[in-house]
Symmetry: D2
Subunit: 436 residues, 4 copies
């Protein structure tokens, strides 16, 4: 068997003072924090598309990455080689999970039936490699946005033939996910939206999208897939406006169509900021509805208006994210998928390791710090005290739904003018810094 | 009685070729378009706060506008003078409606009871002036964001005393609106949001906000106010993040708390773009839920990240907005309120007329052009044809909820690979230009 | 000879009321406005890359456009076929100019010498087709950003081998431009910038860039190329930060290195807005330094943070642009190049015509309207009056450089407190609307 | 003498593990780093306007901060009280510097002469307090943007009377700065720009601005002020477009008018990001021209489009900033001014201490970490190696200006195709994290 990363042995935890760039300084997979192993808190996953199939191409230039697993002339051979390289990478890096689109792991054929056959073949091999290595599938999905047929959308396409095609493709991708023991199945609607309202029947497309998701729910039941269905919000790009704009929009849509209990959210940091929200905000909104499913933990550039999908290296972002995730009870079927690609100029295979190592160490620090903050309780205490007026008296009546405008007026007339207390933002930011 | 705008007579329609800057070139109030008078389609309203009470101040400088109605030393006298100036302005400009916050028309007193007394006094005078002039109240609202007591929110304040205060204030503002025959009552939650999640109990604040709105609904019923309750989305500013971020967020919130039938939306163009949407998008989302209530028709600067509240002068924006409004059936209780302020350097009273005239003429053109586009039907025809596949066969099955993934797969296997049709965006943009 | 656009005859001017989507409603090439033919004012050019070589691909999906001139298996045959299709398109559309990158018109070979040979061969054919049709070359340029060798820049690459390669490539592209009678040669530094300052020697890269441009100037002289050298500003994308950020940055750089008289600017509307400026602003800045060379007249989407390169259809943008261009004396060697691509879903060859037609008609209206505004003189008069205080007295002393702080203080003490006059923005926006 | 902050004693350094929120954990003023005391590296300054005169007001609400030094009815008494409070604050906080605008420290009078008299009186008192406490003036400036007279600009006003007024005002502010031993004098042109190009003579305003600055230079010489003149770039707000958009724009302007040696830049972090740049970028651009004068170290919110002027609490920002500053040789006359205001809801005087403490500790960490990075040299080594090709051979010829296009072509033909090396962004981000 070819070895694709001969220059790298298994990446190990060497602790904070290590100078080895191919070691973890913070991520110690089996270290126990708050009764659970670090790896089980974090549930890291590698994204097959960027890490194995990415090319380094952008809108202004061709691919820059020369991968040894892409050398074979035959597409199916390349798919097999890639899969072997993938599992070598997962194993050497020491992640327990991966994620894929159907068309990443197996090439699209001339016809739909051939595409299915290709996928089935590769799934069989993947199953064996999973079994050999112990690496698991965090989630699978179907790529219903790259092929030109999806130019005007998949589940919201003006042409029912394309709608049907997307259904058929997802059917197979869902079966593949079930076969591989995937813990979730993800919907990212990259073309579910519009380029211009001039040619768009918005109301109909919303209806179609609901039908589409309902059909997926029905099929999930039919085949006994017990994983979680996830929707990943993104506001725009590739389309001008995508229907899954942000968490609040998706949750509202799910409520409208009675689908709230069927789907959770896969929150991506870069998509959050493109929608004008912090990553922490999107996680908080999802968690407040009990809908926080999984996370794409790449990051964006706050000064750039497109999805840069960078490896996350900012400790603050990781701390704030892990605080929300842990306070929501931690991951169940979800995990931290690095939907991240190397910068185009990071041209070596080695950079794939550097990218994942800094990301994993950053989130390991995020976990360690957030657990310390939660354990110390100073922040929670501050917040609890801030809202303590709602625990009794008229405040409690409000929460209980017993107050009305007349009672409120009576309360105001009977009391002193309220005086605002400090929100202490600067103090709290200092408190957070004291943990970093 | 003092005359506040002696240099202006009633603004008249003089037609397209008029060179008179104090005349309308397009807005001909009594001209009938599609069976309804222009003024009844457009239902223009003046915003009391910017037009009468604005100062021209900004974060970096003091007010620049010297208004003759602000000269009196006594606040109540100023309030009376302002009201007289307002009705003179409404009448000379020829608008049928105005909108106000409680604290615009009457000054806040030392105590809550004094504030109420001040408001009651001015409402009585306003009622008389409405009756004298025929000018009506499009909507009233309470300013629950300017006073320091609301620094941390009104209906989402961590302190129930402030929550109660807001309830009491809105109770009176709603009574005043009823007394003046207001056709709507508006909620704009300028401080309903957060500055930092570090000190915020997001889930509790959402609950509180729902209680708050439910209490308003209950009180509306109690006093027999039959106007429409409106929520005005805005993503941020003054707070870092506001809960009424955009239409989709507000509609999702209303669905979550069973309030969807109790509220409609007041869409503001500048708020739409701050949230990353076009004005047309926000109107479309509201209309698709039957929730398009009213419009704040000011505009923003697409390169600036704050609410510039400019008078709308862009014909495209007006055409696209009017297309959505008219196709949704036109306004019922709502209208076009100019929540717009002069540029700080537009220091003359005369500029108030110029600002409103260009705005009204722009929307009059928007109406004329959009009605022509709708009448010609070319655009509608294009869209209908684009989605015609859903009228029969498998497409109709999808819409009817009769299709499933297996049927879709069968359909795909039995048919040719779908080929995308052109979305014709460039052609359609040319079509729109041909009407301008 | 194959005909590539058999469904289209020559596009003609049919006037405002034409319903023919393949006709011009405003662009009447030989109509004379202010002593010059419309076509000579506007000097429209087609961009070879988007129009002939574009694929409809984006970062999330493959190409959607199937062009009949791309069918041949042999790259050089495809290049020839494309060139024939190009001149058929130029001729049927009725534009007088085109623009190209070296690698658009001829494919890159295995080695540099082969690339040069390919280019030379195609240039010979292009020369013949220019002569046959009368179509001219507005500008040529070298693509020094797509090939992986340029991943870290061309004239600012950390590796002098790449710097040298870019020089050699531009040498040939400049020779090709000379051979084809190109009126300008353009530098767009898509990779001249950085991804992260962590790995960047900013000061050295600035020096290198200056050397690079100086070498181009020297070579231009050496070969007797008398066209204009142009730099096209863009703030970012593909890189995180590009050195030619905007007009002011480029002009400052040229001044620093004594190159101001050697280069003019090629202003692109979409790049202007990505840099936080209006198109009109960038044109104004360039014009004020006598550096307005040429224009890329595509447009962007103000709500999207990447280069959408749409066909320009907004009449306001065209009016404001043409006002600056005409008041700066109109184009000399420059022109209006549509660096615009169809939306990915506009999949038909016919859409290429629709896109260019709406763009040309939009700028024709821009020309007609701006000439009318200039001729009427109301706007100019307003501005002249606004600054008239500088024509005499202390104002004139200031302009003449004769005033100092002490004199200013004396002037203030001797005069009344100044009172601001209205800037009349709303009035002026109404004035502009009255011309549309 | 009244004590304004009785609840606070002098803030002391207590080290990393202190739980005292009124102590420094990292800022140890007299600790020596790389041969210089921490306080002499950092040269912290308090901004008089936000800290002493801020009100907590915003565009949507009144001031929320009740300061005991603002109680006196007489404006001059308030000014004296404020000054005493200021020096008590400076001393208790332990900063060595402060900064002011003329109209912060002394109120504007009815007439220009009265304003000057007020200023002179307060300057005398400030001089005494400086002498008593050892606190020094980092810089002074004139507020030429708040008063309505400056609505259309100061040094770019269409009315020469206002231009003259600004000159006279700056004359006095410069004299006051000299009198107080100020080390710099700052120009922030908050209204030097435009609201709309429709009413603006851009070229003339640029000329006027150059005259204005030249007059300041002349007067500086005349009175023997030996401090540094600084310009502070900002792209917009309050105006739609400001002429001092960013560092590159200002440096280009200074070069155009021969003023480059007369001015340095005062870089503000929040202004950098509003212009689409990182703070580090703006510092780097300034440093590359030898023009890095001083820093306003407040921060903004990357998701908000206005100047939030928050206290800086992000360690990354501080590290990156200090790396540029230290590698440029550290501050000479400049320093780190906190042009920062508390969040509106941080209503207590105590929050003023919390805000400054977190900011000072953040920059102290920035200094400590950046000095360690510089000392270790790993980053510098990486960069030096990356560009080492320019040290010899053809690379050295390029730098020396000895290369031309023909030589470059010869070099290309004689060498192998260049292959890009990895830029190692992910590796370098991990390297930085290892220091935090």
């Amino acid at each position: 068997m070819a070895e694709y990363f001969p220059e790298v042995n298994k990446v190990k935890f060497e602790g904070r003072d290590s100078k080895n760039p191919l070691a973890f300084k913070f991520y110690d997979p089996d270290a126990v924090i708050n009764g659970r192993k670090m790896k089980d808190h974090l549930r890291f996953a590698v994204a097959y598309w960027h890490t194995l199939k990415g090319t380094g191409g952008d809108m202004f230039g061709a691919g820059t990455w020369k991968r040894s697993w892409e050398n074979a002339a035959d597409p199916m051979q390349r798919a097999e080689d890639t899969l072997h390289a993938a599992f070598e990478f997962f194993t050497k890096l020491g992640v327990d999970y991966y994620c894929f689109h159907d068309r990443d792991i197996a090439p699209e054929g001339q016809k739909f039936s051939e595409s299915c056959k290709n996928l089935d073949y590769i799934v069989k091999l993947a199953k064996k490699l999973q079994s050999d290595t112990g690496v698991k599938l965090l989630w699978g999905t179907a790529n219903c946005f790259s092929n030109p047929r999806y130019a005007h959308g998949a589940g919201t396409n003006p042409d029912p033939k394309v709608f049907a095609y997307a259904c058929a493709q997802i059917k197979h991708a869902m079966e593949a996910t079930l076969e591989l023991g995937g813990e979730n199945y993800v919907f990212w609607g990259g073309r579910e939206g519009y380029e211009t309202l001039l040619n768009t029947n918005y109301a109909l497309e919303q209806e179609l999208f609901a039908r589409f998701l309902q059909m997926a729910v029905d099929y999930k039941r039919e085949i006994g897939f017990e994983g979680t269905l996830l929707i990943e919000p993104k506001p725009q790009e590739p389309t001008k406006h995508q229907y899954d704009f942000d968490s609040a929009t998706v949750l509202g849509f799910l409520r409208q169509y009675g689908l709230l209990n069927e789907f959770k959210l896969n929150i991506e940091a870069n998509h959050a900021t493109l929608a004008g929200h912090t990553f922490q905000h999107e996680l908080t909104v999802a968690a407040a509805s009990g809908s926080l499913g999984s996370v794409d933990a790449n990051t964006g550039d706050m000064l750039l208006g497109w999805d840069t999908d960078q490896f996350p290296t900012n400790i603050y972002d990781a701390v704030y994210a892990m605080m929300v995730i842990q306070q929501a009870g931690g991951f169940t079927t979800g995990g931290l998928n690095f939907d991240a690609k190397l910068r185009r100029g990071s041209v070596d295979d080695l950079d794939l390791f550097y990218g994942h190592i800094v990301a994993m160490d950053t989130f390991a620090r995020g976990l360690i710090i957030s657990e310390q903050i939660i354990k110390d309780g100073l922040l929670d205490e501050f917040v609890a005290k801030r809202y303590s007026g709602y625990n009794s008296g008229f405040g409690a009546d409000i929460v209980a739904g017993k107050a009305d405008f007349k009672a409120a007026e009576g309360f105001v007339l009977a009391n002193e003018e309220p005086v605002p207390s400090s929100g202490r933002q600067e103090y709290l930011e200092n408190l957070i810094n004291s943990y970093i």
